[in-house]
């Protein structure tokens, strides 16, 4: 009986919490949308119209969010399948995010806070771009070579962090933040050099990557969705295997969960830190490669967008698990793709769109807050306290 009650409590908690979080995000986002619509301020005097307009603009905005991320009936006139174009866009945005998110997730599991996915992404993009435009190789081989270029360059860049930490104790957070700056400015400089300057252009854009080095599109030219999403999902599965089934992953997790115990048990902490960061760098770099080879086709100063920083949120949201990271990245991808449509189809300014995205993440990421708002009883905190207090 007791077991059954506990089961019910736990399941309801695990399902109810994200739903309530989502509900709160939708509600507060709706308020924001309604109040960002200038029309509404003229309607103070008539409460009914005021509410109606508010509801309408919020509803319209959310509809646009769905139309931009999953399915849009307006696009089906030529071909019903085209209605799923928004879903394909979600995957396009999610692919690099999954990879950078995995980079942060893997580092988390090894007890490292990788703020440097942004810089590693940039180096991956540089590697992929250079191999992509500078050489002329046969199909498939060229793409593989470009990916290899990205992985090697970004892997070294990430490994540097682990090496510095292992050798000198330099904190990875500071090191990665600084390396992010270096990456950004290095990219700016690189884009002004003759090698990376596109012929006839002097603005910071590299030559486009060769056709052979581009990731094949999955559903033809009408969609941007490309092999990148499958690369990302495949790699996520590999990271899952790495963490759960290999001796390397076991060491990573051990060092991450309790460095002292890992060290006492004879694991080499410097080796773990360096190798983890090499892999993390390679993951984020692969994200850069997917972006350059899959959708942008050229290296620009802003190629990394905020993929490296969103990755931190994605990893946290995904509770530092590969599957969670994938789901969080898909949510993020949907929010970003849908956000663009929200801007396009409604009067919601892009800044408010970004705020709503942040709200959704905030509410999902902060279960304690949601619990407090709904005054949910926290089953776990009771036992926590017992463990501490029941010690006599």
């Amino acid at each position: 009986m007791n077991k059954f009650k506990k089961y019910i409590e736990e399941t309801s908690k695990s399902i109810a919490l994200p739903l309530l979080a989502f509900f709160l995000a939708i509600l507060s986002g709706g308020l924001l949308i309604a109040f960002s619509d200038p029309k509404i301020y003229k309607l103070w005097k008539s409460p009914l119209e005021f509410l109606g307009t508010g509801f309408a603009s919020a509803g319209h905005a959310y509809l646009a969010l769905i139309q931009g991320s999953i399915f849009d009936g307006n696009l089906t006139s030529k071909n019903f399948l085209l209605g799923f174009y928004p879903l394909s866009e979600t995957f396009v945005v999610a692919a690099p995010l999954i990879l950078t998110g995995l980079s942060v997730t893997l580092a988390f599991r090894a007890g490292l806070f990788n703020i440097g996915a942004q810089g590693q992404f940039i180096f991956g993009a540089i590697g992929a771009s250079y191999v992509g435009f500078h050489y002329n190789l046969p199909p498939v081989i060229h793409a593989l070579a470009a990916i290899l270029g990205a992985i090697v360059l970004a892997g070294l860049w990430g490994g540097l962090v682990g090496f510095l930490k292992a050798r000198t104790g330099a904190h990875e957070v500071i090191v990665t933040i600084m390396l992010n700056y270096i990456s950004v400015y290095f990219l700016l400089w690189l884009l002004s050099t003759q090698t990376f300057l596109r012929k006839g252009r002097q603005d910071p854009i590299a030559p486009p990557v060769n056709e052979n080095a581009r990731l094949p599109k999955l559903f033809g030219m009408d969609y941007r969705i490309n092999l990148g999403i499958f690369i990302a999902l495949g790699v996520a599965y590999l990271i899952h295997i790495l963490l759960s089934r290999t001796t390397w992953g076991f060491q990573f997790r051990s060092v991450g969960a309790n460095t002292l115990a890992a060290k006492t048990a004879g694991m080499s902490v410097p080796f773990v830190m360096t190798s983890v960061m090499v892999i993390c760098g390679a993951l984020a770099g692969l994200g850069g490669a997917v972006q350059v080879m899959g959708s942008e086709y050229a290296l620009t100063a802003g190629v990394a967008g905020s993929f490296g920083f969103d990755a931190i949120t994605v990893a946290l949201l995904g509770r530092a698990k590969p599957l969670g990271t994938v789901l969080a990245a898909l949510l993020f991808g949907a929010l970003r793709a849908g956000g663009l449509t929200m801007q396009a189809n409604t009067t919601t300014p892009i800044d408010i769109v970004l705020v709503i995205q942040a709200l959704v993440v905030l509410f999902i990421a902060a279960p304690a807050m949601v619990r407090a708002i709904f005054k949910l009883k926290n089953v776990k905190s009771g036992t926590d306290m017992a463990a501490k207090g029941w010690n006599g």
């Binding site: 089934r245 290999t246 390397w248 002292l260 115990a261 006492t264 004879g266 089953v379 207090g389 006599g392």
Partner: protein, 503 residues
């Protein structure tokens, strides 16, 4: 002043920490509360001191019911508490610490310490405490710091004093002094609630003993009761406290440590020029008050320390400078000082913890891929062999009790082919039943012909297990003595030979 608890019940989630506890402490009585870790002693005292509020039940002071919802209520009612971990600010003087939270200022707005000083002097004299009000707390020995806590309680007119595991941090001499202090306080009419799990102290100081097990009072006893009797009430089954071990059959030297010196990164010596041999089939105990270099010594043997000189021969082969892994696999089983900190990974399962140092060896792994089934099957065997009470191999170690956690460490380390066992404080914080188990295992290892080096701050443990005793003081071994040494002589050695001067 008398205190009575009636029907105190407190639960945390599904756990009932205190279940209808009735307890009466008379004026001028030393009342010991005896129980294993996790029996509910601290919860009960935290309720009495206002740190926790009970689900039901009543507190009466001098027969009048009162409500204690925070520590200030308890203080106002004359109940003071000395916690296991002192609540003192190290860089403040004794007087400053004592007025903390009750600061009074003079007419110029300057902190007035005079009254506190004279009060401290008075109490110090009255109870023969020997505490200087102007001494900076961090310069004082632990035993004196504890007295500062006692004075603080007394200065605010505590008539009932709760001492939570007060002897855990003391040397044997300091323990004796504390017991004397308690007796002095009692003479002046102060009631003392003395929480402990050490049977000898209870017998020495208590007037009455209440035994708690699993949140319930299971019995009361007089100090004249036998240790076996007290222990079995505490544990809930008959306990054999005497370690039946045969005389050691000494074999060849397996661990030979010469001129071992460890410094920190600034070059300060942590341990100095230690030489010690341990033979097959014997237990050498390193005794000493906590913090005299035992931690560093033990870690240095495993090459866990960085700046080490000297030599460590394992069966004739010098392993100094080896990797930690190399040291472990040279044939040393290592039971680290802290299960939680460096012995186990709490968020890992039992099975995973059992392979922390053999995860990549057959049959746990084939190449890069691990074999989870083998690992689990092996774990199931160990769980039976070492009697690890759990819900299975996949239960997280963090949810195990201290004793079962330690069994996981033992199961891991003793299941490898080893010649030497280095055990650091292997029973610290364990209940009687688990201590018994650990001690049996250690003696078994000895009898199987392994060399055992045991680090312990518990005299009872040292006497129960050791064949020889090395005494550590300020980073060196000041003497190696046979296990027949008297308790008081060993206590003196642990204090650095010099008899403890009460200046």
């Amino acid at each position: 002043m008398s205190v009575e608890l009636r029907g105190i019940t407190k639960s945390f989630g599904a756990l009932v920490a205190n279940d209808g506890i009735d307890l009466r402490v008379e004026t001028g009585e030393i009342h010991a509360i005896l129980g294993e870790n996790g029996a509910g002693k601290s919860t009960l005292m935290n309720i009495l001191y206002g740190l926790l509020s009970p689900d039901s039940g009543q507190i009466l002071v001098d027969e009048k019911p009162i409500i204690i919802s925070e520590p200030s209520d308890a203080l106002a009612a004359g109940i003071g508490m000395v916690h296991q971990h002192f609540m003192l600010i190290p860089v403040f003087t004794v007087a400053e610490n004592i007025v903390l939270g009750h600061e009074k200022v003079n007419g110029f707005g300057v902190l007035d310490l005079e009254k506190a000083r004279s009060e401290i002097a008075r109490i110090s004299k009255e109870f023969n405490f020997d505490v200087d009000p102007d001494a900076v707390v961090e310069t004082l020995p632990v035993g004196i710091q504890q007295r500062v806590e006692v004075i603080r309680a007394l200065i605010y007119n505590a008539k009932v004093l709760i001492l939570d595991e007060p002897t855990a941090v003391l040397t044997p001499q300091e323990t004796d002094e504390l017991l004397q202090v308690m007796k002095n306080l009692k003479k002046q009419g102060t009631s003392i609630i003395f929480i402990t799990h050490k049977l000898r102290e209870v017998q020495e100081a208590a007037d009455r003993i209440t035994i708690i097990r699993r949140g319930k009072i299971v019995g009361t006893a007089l100090p004249t009761a036998s240790q076996e009797d007290l222990a079995s009430q505490m544990v809930g089954r008959p306990v054999d406290l005497t370690m039946n071990k045969s005389p050691a059959k000494i074999g060849k030297t397996l661990l030979e440590i010469s001129n071992l010196t460890v410094t920190d990164s600034t070059g300060r010596e942590l341990i100095h020029d230690i030489s010690l041999d341990v033979h097959a089939g014997e237990i050498v105990a390193v005794a000493g008050v906590q913090g005299n270099g035992q931690t560093e010594f033990a870690r240095a043997i495993l090459n866990l320390e960085e700046h080490v000189s000297g030599s460590i021969l394992v069966d004739g082969k010098d392993i100094l400078g080896e990797t930690v892994r190399g040291s472990l696999h040279s044939g040393i089983a290592f039971i680290p000082e802290s299960r939680e900190l460096d012995g186990l990974i709490g968020s890992f399962s039992i099975a995973e913890n059992l392979i922390l140092d053999t995860f990549d060896l057959a049959p746990n792994a084939k190449g890069l891929l691990m074999s989870p089934n083998t690992v689990t099957n092996e774990a199931v065997k160990r769980i039976t062999e070492f009697d690890i009470r759990s819900q299975g191999a996949n239960e997280l170690v963090s949810s195990l009790s201290g004793g079962n956690k330690q069994k996981v460490v033992l199961a891991r380390e003793l299941s490898r082919p080893v010649k030497i066992v280095v055990a650091s404080q292997p029973t610290r914080g364990l209940d009687v039943g688990s201590i018994e188990f650990v001690h049996e295992k250690i003696v078994q290892e000895r009898d199987a012909g392994r060399a055992v080096l045991l680090f312990s701050t518990e005299l009872d443990e040292v006497f129960a297990l050791a064949d020889r005793i090395a005494v550590m003081y300020r980073g060196t071994i000041i003497d190696i003595v046979p296990a027949t040494i008297s308790r008081s002589d060993l206590g003196l050695l642990m204090a650095g030979v010099k008899p403890k001067v009460s200046s």
